[in-house]
């Protein structure tokens, strides 16, 4: 900000930065270190700096215990599948809608755009409970051999964990603003060459939209991986549960904190690894949520 900062100020800033770093890093470090210790050692070490150091009887026993206590691999695979499918469908569905809003004029396109923008501020929690009632009444087509039959009720399925979160007003809005910044001369040139609208979407606009795709992917993946309230209410079958709901299993029996810390570390690592690999994209996507203000 200011180039000629005095030495005193720089020292003060560094000290403040280190204090804040300790505040944010130490609890997470404590979580990881505790996941390697037996419960008795965790509570013995808690009064000293050893709480943050992997010293003493270090082992992966807690991690082995996690897989004995809960079907952790199943939970991880469920969350991975649900998140990836939601992200893939979300990119496809929302970018197509945004393309239609940005490039094509159709009846009601203006109105649709303002409706999308108006819905941005409505939090999921305002309609989550009526939604539970509603998905229980939705129909679904199932194949029995060659016969198609209708069934009712989406509770206890994978689809109920994916489909409600595919279409997203904010993703549409992000794609829309990005598409608006792509010069129209590009699609006009393609049209002169005889390309249809769908081909322009696929071969001209989407390949140029990498940053918007990354942003939508991140902003869809994080809440999908972290989802808790929704699967808590709509999924009762253990085999269909995602990781965050799986965490509650550890509090039903005797509380074994080392294992809980191991499970917490285990379900945090995939997201943390993604974040560290794509830091810039993560930070940019968060910053982009502020653009509409």
């Amino acid at each position: 900000m200011r180039r000629r900062s005095s030495t005193r100020l720089r020292v003060a800033v560094l000290v403040a930065r280190l204090l804040c770093a300790a505040l944010f890093a130490f609890p997470l470090l404590f979580m990881f270190v505790s996941s390697l210790k037996a419960d008795t050692d965790i509570f013995k070490d808690v009064g000293s700096v050893r709480a943050f150091l992997p010293v003493g009887d270090i082992s992966l026993d807690n991690y082995a215990g996690v897989f004995d206590t809960v079907p952790a691999a199943r939970f991880l695979l469920n969350s991975l599948g649900i998140s990836l499918v939601t992200v893939a469908l979300g990119i496809l569905v929302n970018s197509m809608a945004a393309f239609a809003l940005s490039r094509l004029s159709w009846r009601g396109s203006r109105l649709a755009l303002s409706v999308v923008i108006a819905t941005l501020v409505v939090p999921f929690e305002t309609f989550a409970l009526p939604l539970v009632w509603w998905v229980d009444k939705l129909p679904w087509l199932t194949m029995h051999g060659l016969r198609l039959t209708w069934s009712t009720g989406w509770l206890d399925t994978y689809r109920v964990q994916v489909l409600p979160f595919v279409a997203n007003a904010f993703s549409i809005y992000l794609f829309y603003s990005y598409f608006q910044s792509i010069p129209r001369q590009l699609d006009e040139a393609a049209r002169v060459d005889g390309a249809g609208w769908f081909r322009i979407y696929r071969t001209v606009v989407m390949p140029l939209s990498g940053p918007a795709i990354a942003t939508v992917a991140i902003l869809t993946f994080l809440p999908a991986w972290n989802s808790y309230l929704w699967p808590l209410m709509v999924v009762q079958t253990e085999e269909l549960r995602p990781v965050m709901v799986g965490a509650s299993y550890f509090f039903q029996l005797k509380v074994h904190w080392g294992e809980i810390m191991a499970y917490s570390t285990l379900i945090t690592l995939p997201v943390l690894a993604l974040f560290l690999a794509f830091q810039r994209a993560f930070v940019n996507s968060i910053a982009s949520t502020g653009v509409k203000g």
Partner: protein, 295 residues
Amino acid sequence: MTARRHQHGQGRTGLLMVAPGGVLLVVFFFVPVALGFALSFTDARLISPKPLEFVGTDNFARLLDDPVFWTSLRNTLLFAAVIVPAQSGFALLLALLVNVKMRGTNLFRTLYFVPVVTSIVVVSILWRFMYQPDGLVNSMLHWATGNVVRIDWLNDTSTALPAIMFMSAWQAVGFHMVIWLAGLQTIPGELYEAAEIDGAGRWHMFRYITWPGLRNTRTFILVTITIAALSLFTQIHVMTGGGPLDATSTVVFQAVRVGYQQQQTAYASAISLVFFLLVLTVSLIQRWLTRERSA
């Protein structure tokens, strides 16, 4: 000729491309929002073979007489009243700290952001552990003050909600730091250079350049933190289950308890409607604030 044919197909292609998203938004957003209004005037239950009956404003009359609802509303508003200024102020401080050009800036920014990508469920579990009477928080306090501290943070009506406030701000503050930072970086550096030539001090620069330059960012941050604070649920569900003695029950928590655990969809819809009105009020205030300033 070709161009005209494409022009002609626009309407159909447009509807075709918007259809998947449009249908999903209608089924999973507009219908449930409308249902929320409609069901709150009925006796709907989650799983019930009985047909719906219209009950007028019974659910709202019940709401007015429900002490747990009022406690939950009070807790929610209290949580928002503390968390909004505390978290946005702390986030601004962090943003200013990492906006100084110095070595290691990226490392610090990354560190401050890590709790944001950590799930709130994990963060709640971790802090539930640290808030144990023989846990890390008390032993840190012991180390800092020299006195043995044995506060049962989450089981004491006077400390449970403040403890949850602190860990919530800890988790989310990095998010708003990034947004403040994006705002800070839109302020042209020449303004500071000119002020420096005029001999302005740091406080004056902040007061007359930085603060006014962050006007839009400020409104956005206040609104997002307020709405997130009003939606408080996961921390409560994981850490206290609303207790002790409803001291940490919130509006959304109460809606879930009634609507999911007790299966009373209609009454939960009425509570959700109150929550919806709270959020609506906040965003209308935002509209009003931004409109007045741009005029």
